[in-house]
Amino acid sequence: MSAKHRLELLRQMLRIRRFEERCAELYSAAKIRGFLHLYVGEEAVATGVIGALRPDEPIVSTYREHGHALARGVPMDAVMAEMYGRTNGCSRGRGGSMHLFDADRHFYGGNAIVGGGIPLAVGLGLADAMRGSHRVTTCFFGDGAFAEGEFHESVNLATLWQLPVLFACENNHYAMGTALARTHGQTDLALRAASYGLPAWPVDGMDVLAVEDAAHRAVEIIRAGGGPVFLELRTYRFRAHSMYDPDRYRDKAEIEEWKQRDPIDALVARMRTDGELGDGDLEAIEREVADELARAEEAAEAGPWEPVTDLTRFVYSERS
C-alpha cells in the first residue's frame, strides 16, 4: 500500500475527528440540537470499510453516521448544514444529525431505529441481485443492534438468498450504557454470525489498515458472487453515547486504555516509523481540514430555513 494512500486514510480520519469535535462545541453553543451521537474513536471503521467500496455502492447507516457520510463523500458543508437544520443540508434540514441522506452518493441514511436499517440493506442487495449485479450494499450497525430480531431475520434472509450485502457490525462494546456482556449471552459476535452460514470474522477496528484489508477481502468475496459477509469491527467510542449521556457506566481506566489505541495516533506513529510522514505533512492536513470545516460552518450559518408553509411537503411525493 502506497504512502500516498495511507496519507489519504489519515486525512479522512482527521476530517471526521475534527468535524465531530467541532459539532460537540456547536451543540453546547445550541447551534445543533436534538440527539447528537459522536463517532470519535471509531473513525478507522468508517474510513477503512468505505474506502474499500466503489462510490456507487449503497451504504445504510445508523444515527451515529457522520463518519460514514463524510467517508462516503457527502460534502462536509451539506452535513454541517443538516446538523443546523438548514435547507442546504444533505436532507434539506428535515433530518438533522440522525438522518443524513444523499441519494446521489448512494447514502441511504441515517436511521434512528436501532437495527431498522438492516432490512433496508438486504432489500437494496436484493434489488441488485435480481438485476444480476453483485454491487455491494454495506450496512453499518452496532453490537446492541445484533440483539434485535431484525438483525437475525435479515442475516438469514441475505444468506438464504446469497445477496451482495456486507454486514459491518461496529462492536464498540456498549449499547448506550449497557456493556456487551449484559446484552449477549455469547459475546463472540463473529462466531454467532458465522452460524447463519456466511463468512464472518472479527477485525481490529482501531487499525484502519486492518479494517481496510478485511473490507477488501469481504467485498471481493461478495463481488465474486459469494453472497453476504459479516465483519465484526472491534472498536470503542471515546465519548459518551450522546450529548445527553453523563457516561456513568464506564470505568475511566477502561476509556483511557482504549484511548491509547487511538486509530489516528496509531496510523501517525506507524507512518512516522515507516518514514511515510514528512515534516509538516500532518500540519498541512490539519490546516486543510480546518479550512474545510470553517467553510462548512459558514455554509451552515448562511443556510436558509425551510419556510413554515412547506411544513407538510415530502410527506407524499409531489405529483407532476
Binding site: 449503497p58 445504510v60 435547507t87 443540508g89 444533505c90 436532507s91 434539506r92 434540514g93 428535515r94 433530518g95 438522518h99 441522506f101 444523499d102 441519494a103 441511504y108 441514511g109 441515517g110 436511521n111 431505529i113 431498522g116 438492516i118 432490512p119 433496508l120 440493506a121 438486504v122 432489500g123 437494496l124 442487495g125 436484493l126 434489488a127 441488485d128 435480481m130 430480531g149 431484525e150 431475520e153 435479515s154 438469514n156 434472509l157 438464504l160 411537503r313 415530502f314 410527506v315 407524499y316 411525493s317 409531489e318
Partner: protein, 329 residues
C-alpha cells in the same frame, strides 16, 4: 364491453400476473406465495409461470421481508409484499411506520418508497382472536402511506396497478371473506383510480359510508330499507387514506343523514374520523348525529354465533339508518 365471470380471488391473481408481465421491476414476495400458492390461493400458479426469483417465498420474518421490500423499492424495484394476515403485520409495523412512512420526509424529498404491501384483513371465518382483526382503519392514522381496500371485483382487478404506479407506499387490505365472491367483470379493466370514493347506490334519504366486507352488508340493508320507502345512498370509501371528503360531504349535504359502517373496533375507528369530519364540515346540514356501526370491542371469539354478534350485521345498519331518520324526524 365484454365481461367475464370471475371471483375476487381470481381478479387479484389476474392483477398480480398482469403486473408481473407489464413491468419487470415488479415481483411478489411473502410467506408461501410460491410453492404453496398463497395461503388463500391468490398467487396459485404464478411461481410456475414467473419462477422463484419473481414469485419469492420468504421465511417467517415479517419485519425483515417487509423491510427488504422497502429497500428493494429504494433500489429501483416495484415489490409487492404479501403479509398473510393483518395480525401478523404487527411484527413488521416498525418498518412501515418508522421507515416506509418517513423516508421521503426525513430525506428531504430524496427517497421514494414505491412499495405495495398486501394483506388479508377481517373476520368471518371463525379464526378467533389472533387472525380476525380489521386494522386497515387503524393504519390510516399514519401519514406517508396510502391505504386502499378493494370491495368489488373491479377494484380487486384494478387497484394493484394504480398502487404500483404510485411513488409512495400503498397498503392494500383484502377482506378475507371476499375472496370467494363471484361476479361479472369487464375484461378490459387494468387499472382504476384510487383517489375517489364511489357511490355504489344513489339515494336521497340517508348516506351510508362504508368499505370492504361491509359494503355488501350495507347494500343489502339499503335494499331492505327501500322496501320501507327509505332511499339510502351507499358510498364505498375505497381509499381510507387519504379520505375523499368531497364525495362524502356532497352526499351528506344532500341527504342530511350519515351512517358509517366499519368492521373495525368502534373506539378510534376510521368511522370516528369520518364522523368527526362530517360534523366539522357539515354540522349545519345534519338533521341527526352521524351514526356508527362497528365491531364489538372484543378480540374475536371462535364460535360462529359470537363472531356474528361481534360483527356489523345488516340489521344493525338498518337500525342505525332508522335511528338517524327517526331522530331527525
Amino acid at each position: 364491453m365484454s365481461t367475464i365471470e370471475t371471483t375476487y380471488r381470481e381478479a387479484m391473481r389476474a392483477a398480480i400476473r398482469d403486473a408481473l408481465i407489464r413491468d419487470d421491476r415488479v415481483f411478489l414476495m411473502g410467506e408461501d406465495v410460491g410453492r404453496y400458492g398463497g395461503c388463500f390461493a391468490v398467487s396459485l400458479g404464478l411461481l410456475e409461470e414467473f419462477g422463484s426469483d419473481r414469485v419469492r417465498d420468504t421465511p417467517l420474518s415479517e419485519s425483515a421481508f417487509v423491510g427488504a421490500g422497502i429497500g428493494a423499492a429504494l433500489g429501483g424495484m416495484r415489490p409487492i409484499v404479501e403479509i398473510m394476515t393483518v395480525n401478523f403485520s404487527m411484527l413488521a409495523l416498525d418498518q412501515v411506520v418508522n421507515n416506509a412512512a418517513t423516508l421521503l420526509h426525513m430525506s428531504g424529498g430524496q427517497l421514494n418508497v414505491p412499495i405495495v404491501i398486501r394483506m388479508t384483513t377481517g373476520a368471518g371465518r371463525q379464526l378467533a382472536a389472533q387472525h380476525s382483526h380489521s386494522l386497515e382503519g387503524w393504519y390510516a392514522h399514519i401519514p406517508g402511506i396510502r391505504i386502499v381496500v378493494p370491495a368489488t371485483l373491479e377494484d380487486a382487478r384494478g387497484m394493484l396497478w394504480t398502487a404500483l404506479a404510485d411513488p409512495d407506499p400503498v397498503l392494500i387490505f383484502e377482506p378475507g371473506a371476499l375472496y370467494p365472491m363471484k361476479g361479472q367483470l369487464d375484461e378490459s379493466v387494468r387499472e382504476v383510480d384510487i383517489d375517489r370514493a364511489a357511490i355504489r347506490r344513489p339515494g336521497r334519504d340517508a348516506t351510508v359510508i362504508t368499505y370492504g366486507a361491509t359494503l355488501g352488508t350495507s347494500l343489502a340493508a339499503a335494499d331492505a330499507l327501500a322496501g320501507e320507502g327509505i332511499d339510502v345512498e351507499v358510498i364505498d370509501l375505497r381509499t381510507l387514506r387519504p379520505l375523499d371528503d368531497a364525495t362524502l360531504l356532497d352526499s351528506v349535504t344532500r341527504t342530511h343523514r350519515a351512517v358509517v359502517v366499519d368492521e373495525g373496533w368502534r373506539t378510534g375507528s376510521i368511522s370516528a374520523e369520518i364522523s368527526a369530519r362530517i360534523t366539522e364540515q357539515a354540522f349545519y346540514d345534519l338533521d341527526a348525529p352521524v351514526e356508527r356501526v362497528c365491531s364489538a370491542e372484543v378480540p374475536m371469539p371462535y364460535p360462529k354465533h359470537l363472531e356474528d354478534a361481534a360483527l356489523p350485521q345488516q340489521v344493525d345498519v338498518v337500525a342505525a339508518v332508522r335511528r338517524s331518520i327517526g331522530d331527525g324526524g
